[in-house]
């Protein structure tokens, strides 16, 4: 299996989520929904049909009261870096790894809806549009003009708000700059998080906040053993959370999901 061809690029975008700061409020999910023009069905009780690019998992340490501990794990697309599972399987190249930014993007009008990528993605970060999008009367006025809505029958996922990068670049260009400053391009979830748990930026810029945070002692990634090399890192001082992040031989499944 070959890695993506490394190209000379000064950018590789990544995210760090501090789980000790996350309160599970769900603002990131709502910000993502509104930024990316998600529609909401009348009945959203069946979560296996809901589109939630930014999904918040609630986990517990499995211990009985009063020793129960709870944490929340916000999960966007990991923008896997090694032999990206979804990109390598797509028969029509509807999903793409950009070697200049490390961003995994999706071409909705190219996708045939075979869902092979859904099967290949271990993070459940991919969502199929089971229905055509319908917005309540008048709500179309609130839609984000920078983001295309998706039709029934195609797969979609978190794009690290790729369109925001385009906007930031356009602005920099107008100002005569070639490079973006740290914090100039951030995702909607990072911008909206009230506790500042989400940091986003260029991991190749040693001065960026993400580049520093991923070197923190408590940094880890989800399902590291699978070797997908996610560009989303988590921070936590709690060892039980770090342990829950990956499979460990013979560990009893605690049913961590609450």
């Amino acid at each position: 299996m070959s890695e993506h061809h490394e190209v000379a690029s000064k950018e590789k975008y990544g995210m760090v989520i501090d789980l000790d700061k996350c309160t599970g409020c769900g603002t990131c999910t709502v910000a993502c929904l509104s930024e990316n023009n998600h529609y909401v069905r009348e009945d959203e009780s069946d979560k296996l049909h809901s589109v939630t690019w930014m999904k918040v998992y609630k986990v517990t340490n499995g211990a009985p009261f009063p020793n129960t501990k709870v944490a929340f794990i916000p999960r966007p697309c990991m923008h896997c870096d090694h032999h990206t599972p979804c990109v390598s399987v797509c028969p029509v190249m509807a999903t793409d790894y950009n070697p200049l930014t490390g961003i995994v993007s999706q071409i909705y009008t190219r996708c045939i809806g075979c869902r092979y990528c859904v099967g290949a993605c271990p993070y459940h970060a991919r969502y199929f549009n089971w229905w055509d999008p319908v917005w309540p009367e008048g709500m179309h006025k609130l839609l984000n003009p920078d983001m295309s809505p998706r039709m029934r029958g195609v797969v979609e996922k978190c794009s690290f708000c790729n369109h925001r990068q385009q906007k930031a670049k356009d602005k920099a260009y107008v100002e005569g700059r070639k490079e973006l400053k740290d914090g100039e391009y951030v995702t909607a979830c990072a911008e909206a998080c009230p506790t500042g748990a989400i940091t986003f930026g260029n991991m190749k810029d040693p001065e960026s906040a993400v580049a520093k945070l991923i070197k923190s002692p408590g940094a880890f990634r989800l399902l590291e053993k699978l070797g997908t090399e996610p560009k989303v890192y988590y921070l936590s001082s709690e060892s039980w959370i770090r342990e829950l992040a990956d499979n460990a031989l013979g560990r009893k499944r605690t049913g961590g999901l609450a």
């Binding site: 399987v89 869902r115 699978l226 499979n247 961590g256």
Partner: protein, 412 residues
């Protein structure tokens, strides 16, 4: 009333009985086609698939019929390339079964994609790294080969053959059949393999992932192996069913025995390969990802009974029946072995399709269950109705079985 279309010198049931039989299957097919239209109109929300089960009943049916249809290319290979003369009696029918299996697979695949009108993107924007691209290309090409193999048989219908153009065409097609059999074999090997490869390359899904041999995962070879060992048993089984329904001997018993014996030895080889694969997976691949064998099975639907039924009951037992001459020559044992072997390969495809996705990947996630909706069952049923219709029409009007006349001399 359709006497003139029926091959000379063979007995067929009365037109009334035949058309009632056809009406029955047409009714089932009609109901299934209406369901398919409903799905095309309303979308895949008509199924019970969801974001956990992106693959469900249809992909299982697809992979199942493609494996069972392997009897066509493998019998073709044995007949025209290896020149096993006993199989001449069976090859036409094997081609028809293959044609049914592959055309249904293509139809269901079209239904199973979210954007059926974009189906052609697979040829236009191919991703050469995707196993599915290889599947799309090879299946289409092989279906074309099967059609080319089926056409001369249609041209041999008594009425059509009377036409000089059809006559010449049919003759020329026959001359070239060995070439098509060889091309078909090559294509089939690749797509059977890439269907297995589709799962084996999903390296972030440890249930299906198998390390590679160069660029190929082991499932690439296991799928080919399982298809060529069980596909022929399905051909034998359908032939036996047709003989039962028509109350006639259509192929010499020896032909069935020869194909069954070859399938039996291949099945032995497959069972050994699958066992070694399972052992390596359990002791190397899974632990490297922090998982245990026991964690791969859960509850009743995804229980530990699956590998035992798949490899033991539906692998070892039919393999033994097929290689033991005394059992193979007994119709009841032969039928049992064919049923078990065919069930085994469908079960294997189900496990790869559904269990791979049901297994939680996050340590904090849980198992999910999936049961097809009635719409999925109905469209799957279409394959059976469609198969019954094609087989009935072919048997009645085409000289499918070259030895039928000799085996059923007219009563004096």
């Amino acid at each position: 009333m359709d006497r003139a279309w029926i091959p000379e010198g063979v007995q067929r049931c009365g037109a009334g009985a035949f058309f009632s039989w056809m009406a029955l299957w047409l009714f089932v097919l009609g109901a299934a086609v209406s369901t398919a239209l409903l799905i095309l109109w309303k979308g895949l929300n008509q199924t019970n698939m969801n974001d956990y089960f992106g693959f469900g009943a249809w992909i299982t049916v697809d992979l199942g019929v493609i494996a069972l249809g392997a009897g066509a290319f493998f019998s073709g290979f044995l007949t025209y390339v290896v020149r096993v003369k006993e199989l001449k009696a069976l090859i036409n029918f094997a081609v028809i079964i293959g044609f049914i299996c592959y055309s249904s697979a293509l139809l269901i695949l079209t239904l199973d994609i979210g954007q059926p009108l974009r189906g052609w993107f697979g040829y236009w924007f191919p991703n050469i790294h995707s196993m599915l691209t290889e599947v799309i290309f090879c299946i289409t090409l092989y279906f074309t080969v099967l059609t080319i193999e089926y056409v001369p048989l249609i041209l041999e219908n008594r009425k059509i053959y009377a036409n000089p153009v059809a006559h010449t065409l049919s003759h020329n097609f026959h001359e070239a059949m060995a070439i098509f059999a060889a091309i078909g074999t090559f294509l089939s090997f690749f797509h059977q393999g890439s269907l297995g490869g589709m799962y084996g390359v999903m390296y972030a899904r440890p249930f299906a992932f198998r390390e590679g041999f160069f660029v190929w995962p082991w499932t690439f070879f296991l799928f080919i192996f399982s298809a060529i060992s069980t596909g022929p048993t399905f051909t034998v089984l359908v032939t036996m069913i047709l003989q039962k329904v028509t109350k006639k001997r259509l192929v010499p018993r020896e032909s069935l025995s020869v194909l069954a014996k070859i399938a039996g030895w291949l099945l032995c080889g497959y069972v050994i390969a699958k066992t070694v694969d399972t052992y390596y997976w359990a002791t190397h691949i899974l632990p490297a990802r922090g998982l245990t064998f026991a964690e791969q099975y859960h509850g009743y639907q995804y229980g530990m009974w699956l590998p035992f039924v798949e490899i033991g009951l539906c692998g070892v037992i039919p393999a033994l029946i097929l290689i033991i001459r005394r059992l193979r020559e007994n119709d009841k044992w032969l039928a049992l072995a064919c049923v078990l072997a065919s069930t085994g390969v469908v079960l294997n495809r189900f496990i790869f399709t559904v269990q791979t996705l049901a297994m939680p990947v996050y340590p904090f996630d849980k198992w999910y269950t999936y049961f097809p909706s009635w719409q999925e069952w109905m469209t799957s049923l279409a394959v059976i109705a469609y198969g019954a219709l094609i087989i009935s029409l072919s048997y009645r009007y085409l000289p499918v079985f070259p030895y039928e006349r000799d085996l059923n001399p007219p009563a004096r």
